[in-house]
Symmetry: C3
Subunit: 203 residues, 3 copies
């Protein structure tokens, strides 16, 4: 129940980020909807393709589709007001990637993959919706340029396996790993921590 609520909040946050990018590109109503939908479900879809989990999750349950449709209608109607929600959106989005990462990690565990592959799956689940959103809008994906985003997912994903070694119930480790992703992301943004610069020369 709690997880479902977070999952839906994450879907909403991802869908709204899609609406915002699509409206900046002045796509039509259908384009805005598709970009919102792909942002929300793209990562999970790629994850399901990679492990052969078909029909993919969002086809088995209409909840995601309905949540995105309602979110898009709401976001378009109140597009002028959305800017006042930026802080809440950032929070939803951060909670969303925390949960999506761990959902992906667990799918990998269920599929019998190595821990490093489970973490990869989790990171793909959390991050690739945004990558596909940016490709559809003809941009170089934003997470390739200035976000610590993926790094939080990777470290949080590995923390799940560390917590697993400790003497506590597995669902605690699961929840703690979500918290690790969220905290790392919040701290990185708060203290403007980024990846090390790999370019010698200024440009």
């Amino acid at each position: 129940m709690f997880y479902l609520a977070i999952d839906i909040l994450g879907t909403i946050a991802f869908a709204i980020s899609g609406v915002l990018v699509a409206m900046e590109k002045r796509l039509d109503l259908f384009g805005v909807f598709i970009v919102a939908f792909v942002t929300a479900i793209g990562g999970g879809t790629l994850r399901d393709f990679l492990i052969g989990n078909t029909p993919v999750v969002w086809m088995q349950d209409a909840t995601y589709l309905m949540v995105v449709i309602l979110t898009v209608i709401f976001a378009i109607l109140f597009s002028n007001q959305l800017k006042y929600l930026r802080k809440s959106l950032f929070l939803f989005d951060t909670i969303g990637i925390g949960l999506y990462t761990l959902v992906g990690v667990e799918k990998g565990v269920e599929a019998g993959l190595l821990p490093v592959m489970c973490v990869t799956l989790g990171t793909i689940t959390a991050c690739f919706g945004g990558v596909i959103r940016d490709i559809l809008c003809n941009e170089i994906p934003v997470i390739f340029r200035k976000e610590i985003y993926a790094t939080a997912c990777i470290l949080g994903g590995f923390s799940y396996f560390l917590f697993h070694l400790l003497p506590m119930p597995p669902q605690y480790g699961y929840a703690l790993a979500i918290v690790v992703v969220i905290l790392l992301r919040l701290l990185a943004v708060r203290f403007k921590i980024g990846l090390p610069n790999i370019y010698n020369n200024a440009k």
Copy 2:
């Protein structure tokens, strides 16, 4: 037999639309072929990925590949004359999306999906070849910007389930739903009906 003929006409129309976009970008022979092929089979391929129908349809039967190869050769040889065929091409394309939509809807029904997901699958089958074509050519997909295209697929897809409720043989409902997609598209283009504008300010 009839459906097969329409299917091949649709494949030809989609492939030619790919050739036209690729030649505008001045891709080489191989690039033109790939873009034509992806336009023709991209939607069905994504549909097959989503429901786990592998090997995907075009790998099981060489017809599609051969039709695209012949179409590309023809289209390049007669590229100067293609502009006189625009009206026929539009008709083929419209018939093509009608058929592709319903092929996708039925695949969804066979996979036991909810009606709304079947309609989604049908729309993906009909529309995503063009989306992938535009991404490969580094354009924002045209159906996100000015086409009523997808809306015709969605409404036609739902009409299939409505016709299903009426006392008539299922293949009639199937054929009628194809006609609905085609008519909606023709009417939208004829009367310049578009999606409602979601932007307040002119730009």
Copy 3:
């Protein structure tokens, strides 16, 4: 053992080509890594999606991931020196597409596909990593514009089936077909052979 070594050399060459493109676009560390990884494994991943071979190959064995991580670290540390390696890189890359093509062809044979589809699978395995790399970096894929690349894969793929008709052990035909891909590519580059120009008018 020999094949594994070649496979790893191919992975390294593809990964380095990804690093070079990504650094030109000034992506961050994570972006460079993802582009390198996708270049190295993208073709094989699409192949596995198409035939339903899941979890995809690189998820079942951490070798590819590890090789790419080490390659990226090395390539970034020595990015100034990489330009002196261009000739070796071209050679690795050429050997890589030779091997990747035949790996894809054999997967198609195992899946019971028609020869023309096996050749298509092989070409996808060898070429689509680079296509996805260019899409992620917001470029029209380079192989659509000026490379004979794919043609070498296609002809080499068909040669496998020709060699199969001759009275020699199958692994000889396999190895010879790899040599055909490599030789065609080297000859095309050496003698500047390209695809025929399909445009009448200069631009």
